[in-house]
Structures are given as structure tokens and as C-alpha cells.
Subunit: 217 residues, 2 copies
């Protein structure tokens, strides 16, 4: 429709890029990281493989960008639903337990969504045995969401809800690691009730006595 060539070609590029991301995520989820190839992604996306080679130096680079795009779309979607974890970070209603339950339940839903879980599982497994890929995975995909927890926990320390003597960067691992553990190793079902229990146990503590105090009621 436009008389200009540039916007048209840019629209075509956007369409190809989207098709390549979708193909890459679908393939890695279905056949695993090792068996996913640039050729396979090109064929499934309906583009020439030169198109992919022009934009990305390697299979790892395409996949990483496809994941970043997926994460960005999820974040937008979550924000649309007012469900936290978007660019605005973890909600801060002043009730830390409620905010964490909301975010961990949303994480459970994501990990139980095959469209997200398949490719994420494949990339995580590859990162476990390939330190370079693993480091990029952590830097680009994991660390940004870890920072959201650090920010929310620091706010809870400032408001007096969270112990002042703990390191938020360690504390958040008590919240997110159990979910990752269940999900990756498939030990037991990953449910909202589980997310709630993790928040309750982590905030309240497992010990029957508060530190330096009388037995709990």
C-alpha cells in the first residue's frame, strides 16, 4: 500500500523475523537443542537459510534472540493482565507474601505452558553442559528476572517486612530455586498450592522458634 519501498521491506523483515523465532522455538522444543539446525529453522520458517545467516552468526544466537523476544512478549502480556513481572517488576502492594504468591503462581503457569516450557527446558539443558551458552542464558534471560526479586526484597527490607540482616540476592533463591528444581527434574507436580507453600515456608521459616525468642504459638 505504501509508495515507499523501505517500510514494505521492513514489514517483510518483521514477518520473516517473527517466523524464524517461532520456528526456532518450536523446533528446539520438539527435537532438542542438538538436533535443531539453521537449515531446519529456515525450512520451517519458509525463508532461505541465507536470510538467517545474514542476521545471526550462529544457531545459539538465533535461539537466544528468539527467547528474549518470547520473554518480552510474555512480560507485555503479563502487564496487560496486570499480573506483575512485566517491565514494572514484581508488584509492591505492601503485602510481600501476597505479591510473592502472585508472581510464583504466574511462574508456575509459565513453566506448565508447553509452548514456553519445551524450548526453555531444551535451552536450559544445553546450558548445563555448555558453559558459554549457559553464561549467556543466565546473563540475558535469568539475571533480569533475578533483579526484579532483588528490587522487591530490598523494598521489603526498607519497609520493615523483611529481615534487615539478609542478603536479598541469596534470599530470592529460596523462592525461585524450588520451582525450578521441581520443573527441571520433574520430581512432583508444580502447582499453585506448591508456590503458596514455598512463600509461606520461606517467609515464616521452618524453625519452630523465632531467632532469639520464645517458642512460636
Amino acid at each position: 500500500m505504501s509508495p515507499h519501498k523501505a517500510p514494505d521491506s521492513s514489514r517483510r523483515s518483521d514477518r520473516s523475523r517473527r517466523a524464524i523465532y517461532d520456528a526456532a522455538l518450536a523446533l528446539v522444543g520438539e527435537t532438542g537443542y542438538a538436533r535443531t539446525t539453521i537449515e531446519g529453522i529456515a525450512a520451517r520458517a519458509g525463508v532461505g537459510k541465507q536470510t538467517i545467516y545474514r542476521w545471526w552468526p550462529s544457531k545459539a544466537a538465533v535461539l537466544m534472540e528468539a527467547f528474549l523476544d518470547l520473554a518480552a512478549r510474555q512480560a507485555e502480556e503479563a502487564e496487560g493482565e496486570g499480573e506483575g513481572e512485566g517491565e514494572g517488576g514484581i508488584p509492591d502492594t505492601g503485602d510481600l507474601a501476597a505479591d510473592l504468591r502472585l508472581v510464583l503462581r504466574a511462574t508456575v503457569d509459565e513453566l506448565n505452558d508447553p509452548a514456553i516450557a519445551g524450548p526453555t527446558r531444551a535451552l536450559t539443558a544445553e546450558g548445563i553442559v555448555d558453559p558459554d551458552l549457559g553464561a549467556r542464558f543466565v546473563e540475558h534471560l535469568l539475571d533480569p528476572s533475578i533483579q526484579l526479586y532483588v528490587t522487591r526484597l530490598r523494598a521489603a527490607q526498607a519497609s520493615g517486612e523483611l529481615r534487615a540482616d539478609i542478603d536479598p540476592r541469596i534470599a530470592l533463591e529460596l523462592l525461585i530455586a524450588p520451582l525450578t528444581h521441581r520443573w527441571l527434574l520433574r520430581t512432583l507436580p508444580l502447582t499453585h498450592a506448591y508456590a503458596d507453600a514455598i512463600v509461606d515456608y520461606a517467609l515464616g521459616g521452618l524453625s519452630a522458634e523465632p531467632r532469639g525468642g520464645a517458642p512460636r504459638p
Copy 2:
């Protein structure tokens, strides 16, 4: 030396079996699960591949048994050193925090030991993308050690050290999942200080106030 054929042949079998386990663990740690083959294991162990096929139906079966053997040897060694986690389970000195610190520190040492970490990492990664292998991994290798935690936490509930209203099978995940998370994803160094912090945070809780009580000191 023995005039009997049976013991001799059984000693030879033991030697071959040990060589096959060692070769299987070394190879999977060095080249990954996918590139480890029965032929490769046989060549490295100095046995014919028919020897392996006679004893095990598949590569997965050899590796699982090699891991079980490794775990059993570790347990014996730990018991020799009086370091818990052996057949006797997690120590129960009446001081839950001290017992957990001991066990989590020993876990940190194991995960930082390349001889154990390499193959374990390879098998874990494969189990993440192969549900059948993952299920066998959990059943034979993970669940037995999970049961040791359940037993120790139940004892702590009985003695009044641990909240009576928590599920030990969930509570233990706050202790072991953070270590697994750091180790698998290589987010930050896995140290004794980290293990101690996890025990402190999990038992004491992250919250500034004990449940239903006055603010903590």
C-alpha cells in the same frame, strides 16, 4: 592363585565391571551424554563391547548403574569420615541447624568435585530433555537422598525443633533446591558460606516478624 575357576572369573568380572563404570563416567563427563557410546565405553575400559551388551541392555542402563555405584562409594567414604549422608542418613545431634549445615556443606564439596560433577551434570541435562531417563534418575539417585531429609525433618518435628504444620517433603526443597540451582545454572559460586546462609534463612525465615507474634529483636 585359587584352584577354583569361579572366584577367578568373578574377580575378573569385578575388575571389568569397575573399568566399565569408570570409563562410562569419565566419557559422559568429558563428551556429554549424547556422544557417549557403548563402543566408546568398551574401548576405554579395555573390554569387548559384547561384554557390555551381555550385562546391560542400553547405554542408559550402564550409566545409571555406574552412578549408583559412584553414589554408594561416596556414601561409604562419607561414613568412613563420619560425615553424615551415608547409609545412616543425615546426622541427628539434636541441633538441626548444625546437622543441616554439615550435610549441605558436604553437598557443596561433592558438587564442586569435577569427578562427580561432570558426569552428574551430563546425566541431569539429559534427564531434563528425556522424561524416561529423568524419571529413572529421580527414582534411583535423587529420591533416596530426599528421603534422608524427610526422615531428619520428621525427627526435628517430633523433637519440637521444626514447625509441626509444615510438610517435610516440601520443606527440604528450600534447602536442596538453591544448591542445585546455583550448581546447574552456574549463577554464582557454590561455597560453604552459601550453604550456611541457606540453612539460616530457611530455618529462621526471611520475614522480619514471626508468624502471629511481635516483631523480632
